[in-house]
Amino acid sequence: MLQNVGIVGFGAYIPANRLPVKEVAEFWGKEPKNIEKSLGVIEKAIPDEDEDAVTMGVEAGLAALKMGKVPPEKLEAIYVGSESHPYAVNPSATIIGEALGVGRNYLAADLEFACKAATAGMENLAGLLEADLINYGMVIGSDASQAKPHDALEYTVGAGAAAFILSRKKEKFLVQILDFASYSSDTPDFWRRDGIPYPSHQGRFSGKPAYFVHVTSAAKKLLEKNKMKPADFSYCVFHMPNGKFPLEAALTLGFEKKQLEPGLIVGQIGNPYSASSLLGLCSVLEVAKPNDLIFLTSYGSGAGADSFILKTTKLLNTARKRVSGIKEYLNNRREISYSKYLRLTNKIL
């Protein structure tokens, strides 16, 4: 069990453009209803031409600082997890750090692990905090990923960012991080080679041997270690590549649909990769009550899963009112056509 790790502020950002699954399906001559049903996704968030993982990370970071009332100079570490870092070499963490006004006295690193890069960052921060090496750190999960036209991923790849400020200052905890566990292996279910614009995947291979094995193994390991069971939790959040996988994982582990629903936002925004499970967490934190236990498990292809046990405090309710929440972002939507999507994502040269 961790003693000194908690979340003192968090923020979300979701771009306003929405590409309906219907638009994509009709463009490729497919039946929209079938796809919406099988994927559990109605529309996905698409960034504007001038947005990227860094700009969205800045917006989420600003919200987290505002909620936590943390002066940016107090951040001593920034981790940014993404699979669409704007540069192959040049850290998103320092560009974001500069924009947030963090100063110079911080550790910065970019992480990559498909959709779980940011939760890996969270584990790293937990280590630094528990070891009393830092007092405040920020982790951001942000992605503005691309999908190959006519690929199955075109229906689900979305965009968004979530930022969390972790600290040792118990008196400021909005949520305490009690423990975490990880499960990793070399499993090539989904990958993207350097210089290639779109990811590749191995179809149904990314199901059972990939997502499900890792998610359930990490989850079971953590539950057993802490001698807890699904019924102990008010909420569970799982990485959401589509609307089906997280529900299946939840039920397999023994959670109920009602524990999952408040965090299940994939139907409206698609899968924003490194921000997926963290935005699900933001969504839950907007409705959670004091002393609620939350079970969070992310998944990253390649593959691995990070599981966390979190507990809310009574400070959460006041703090979360300070910034725009997931609900506002979900309502701030602007439907776009497939041709507009091609233009915004620079597929038309």
Partner: protein, 101 residues
């Protein structure tokens, strides 16, 4: 002709953090339909002259806009965006744009 110097971007980005999360209102605006070199992808785009509450006036693009946002007096806030698409090998210029609130 048009790649922006990384040093210029660096000097400019130092000021950016001071201008984020600032509110203001539109003093004048236009919708640029014939863009200059480097901005073709974004056109048409609105450019606004904003008076920030902190007393400073600035010119920048308006993002996340609808037609009825294009009016004098409209409340806006500063946001962080790519200034324009960078050259394939160049440093990415980030900076301040405005969003209706």
């Amino acid at each position: 002709m048009n790649s922006i110097s990384p040093v210029k971007i660096w000097r400019h980005q130092k000021e950016t953090s001071l201008l984020l999360e600032k509110e203001g209102k539109i003093v004048s605006w236009t919708l640029v339909r014939v863009p200059p070199f480097g901005y073709e992808r974004q056109a048409p785009y609105p450019v606004v002259l904003v008076e920030l509450k902190i007393g400073k006036r600035m010119i920048g693009q308006l993002v996340d806009w609808q037609e009825n946002d294009l009016k004098t007096g409209r409340q806006v806030k500063t946001v962080y965006r790519r200034i324009r698409q960078p050259d394939p090998e160049g440093v990415i210029p980030y900076g301040i744009k405005f969003k209706p609130i």
